[in-house]
């Protein structure tokens, strides 16, 4: 029996966390995430979700509570946006370095200064190198399903997962969402088993100072140095793509919905021109591809779902037959180009495809991006590419730069 309800992205995320039977929630309200924290606190207060809601004075503490609770074996959830995420930055490293399977929703919002409450993805993109797995959702159904998947992924590789979705565009927009029943979710999601059991019978000092070299402890056991510990985190994230794909396969089998694992494609079978993006922008690009096809340009879309670990091998295969690639991004690595553009270019190093790549920065701070505008930009690039223009400087879509 399908149970389809009309709901916002924030509601979908809250239901995802509830169905995942989280035991501790600590979150500090920030637009556009606030609704998510409010809904979860209502679930807990009303007894609908048997969990502890820990009130904190800021985001740094919210994630610290999650770190502590996760360490002693609780399944934890938190959520934030923009400057709240930046305030967590230190603890993001701490969570990943402690190998804790924390799941957090980042409701993507532009970063101040100057203040904006509206959407772009600068907040989470700026956290790229913290050791978190990053997944970008394109609609509300995917948000609900991805929160559930995220726990399975996180608890398999012992790394935290950030589930990203666009503020307002998804967080406050109503869409039909199929709500899975809790028994099926319980079967899909085995109980969380912490990698270390803390007990008074065997006391431990967690995360002590590590020295540059490996060293024997007092019992003669050879312990890792700092660099070996860093390597173990990298090895876990290198293993994660296979786990993410397997989780997607199992999820599809259990729930009948396939969100694509590491990336998804739209009308790419015979596509010459690929539009690439993440989140709702990639979703909008599918309408742009339809417009371009009406004019005879064989366009398709690649939606990058997982940004870290970066699915280089899969994207290399997906781009193999492309004659042109246009990347749209809601973020900028100041002084260079969009982060996704840099990553994709690096993934195509010595690849079969030597397609020209053009990069557009779009929709910063909530500036509207219409399918027609994406199609116009892609067409302009396509025409330039046909004339051999490989190196167009990064363009700012719908922005007065003159």
């Amino acid at each position: 029996m399908s149970n389809v309800q009309i709901m916002t992205g924030n509601s979908a995320a809250a239901i995802g966390a509830k169905l995942s039977a989280v035991q501790v929630v600590a979150a500090y309200p920030i637009t556009p995430q606030s609704q998510l924290a409010e809904i979860l606190s209502q679930y807990i207060e009303g007894g609908e979700l048997k969990a502890e809601y820990v009130r904190v004075e800021g985001e740094h503490s919210a994630l610290t509570v999650c770190i502590s609770a996760s360490t002693v074996g609780a399944r934890v959830f938190t959520a934030t946006s923009a400057n709240g995420l930046l305030y967590m930055h230190e603890q993001l490293h701490w969570a990943a370095g402690s190998r804790l399977p924390i799941v957090m929703c980042c409701v993507n919002r532009g970063v101040g200064a100057p203040w904006t409450i509206f959407n772009d993805q600068q907040d989470s993109l700026a956290q790229r190198d913290t050791g978190w797995i990053q997944i970008y959702c394109r609609n509300n159904q995917e948000i609900l399903d991805t929160v559930i998947q995220a726990y399975r992924i996180a608890e398999a590789v012992y790394a935290p997962v950030m589930v990203n979705y666009d503020g307002f565009v998804l967080s406050h927009t109503m869409m039909p969402v199929a709500v899975p029943d809790s028994e099926t979710v319980r079967d899909f999601l085995p109980p969380y088993r912490p990698h270390t059991i803390l007990s008074p019978d065997d006391p431990r000092n967690l995360n002590p100072v590590l020295f540059p070299w490996r060293r024997e402890n007092s019992a003669g056991v050879l312990c890792d140095g700092y660099m070996e510990m860093r390597y173990k985190l990298q090895a876990a994230l290198e293993k994660a793509p296979a786990v993410i794909q397997e989780t997607n396969r199992l999820f599809t089998a259990a729930f009948g919905r396939d969100h694509g694992g590491l990336h998804w494609e739209y009308r790419t079978e015979d596509a010459e021109l690929l539009l690439v993006g993440m989140g709702s922008l990639a979703s909008e690009a599918t309408a742009a591809a339809d417009l371009l096809r009406e004019e005879g340009i064989r366009a398709g879309v690649i939606g990058v779902r997982v940004f870290r670990p970066f699915p280089a091998r899969e994207l290399r295969a997906a781009c193999a037959r492309a004659k042109g690639i246009v990347i749209f991004e809601k973020g900028i690595s100041y002084g260079y180009e969009g982060a996704l553009c840099s990553e994709l270019k690096a993934a195509l190093y010595r690849a079969e495809s030597q397609a020209p790549i053009h990069n557009y920065i779009a929709g910063l701070g909530g500036r509207d991006v219409k399918a027609r505008e994406l199609a116009d930009a892609a067409r302009t690039s396509w025409q330039a590419m046909e004339k051999g223009n490989y190196d167009q400087p990064t363009s700012w879509l719908n922005c007065y730069t003159g």
Partner: protein, 98 residues
Amino acid sequence: MSVKRDDNISAMCTVAIGEGGKTGDWRSVRPVIDHGRCIPSVKKKAACFLCWLYCPEGVVKATIPVEIDFDYCKGCGICAEECPAKAITMAREVKEHE
């Protein structure tokens, strides 16, 4: 001989003496106690134990007279600073390579 390797995926240590290695080799100066100057406080024997109390590493043994565990004394000099009788002086550590 094979060494047992720690397979923990996050860093941790047990609560045990020497868990951080023999930190005495960090020392560049060592405390030297003139027990004759110690203040008698227990049964007129030389033991006021302020050095034991102040030592941040817990390497001063509360015996009469007090003893210092040089395997772990880092030579910070707090004992010498706090000793009211000035019974402790810090002497330069002469190491083999010097």
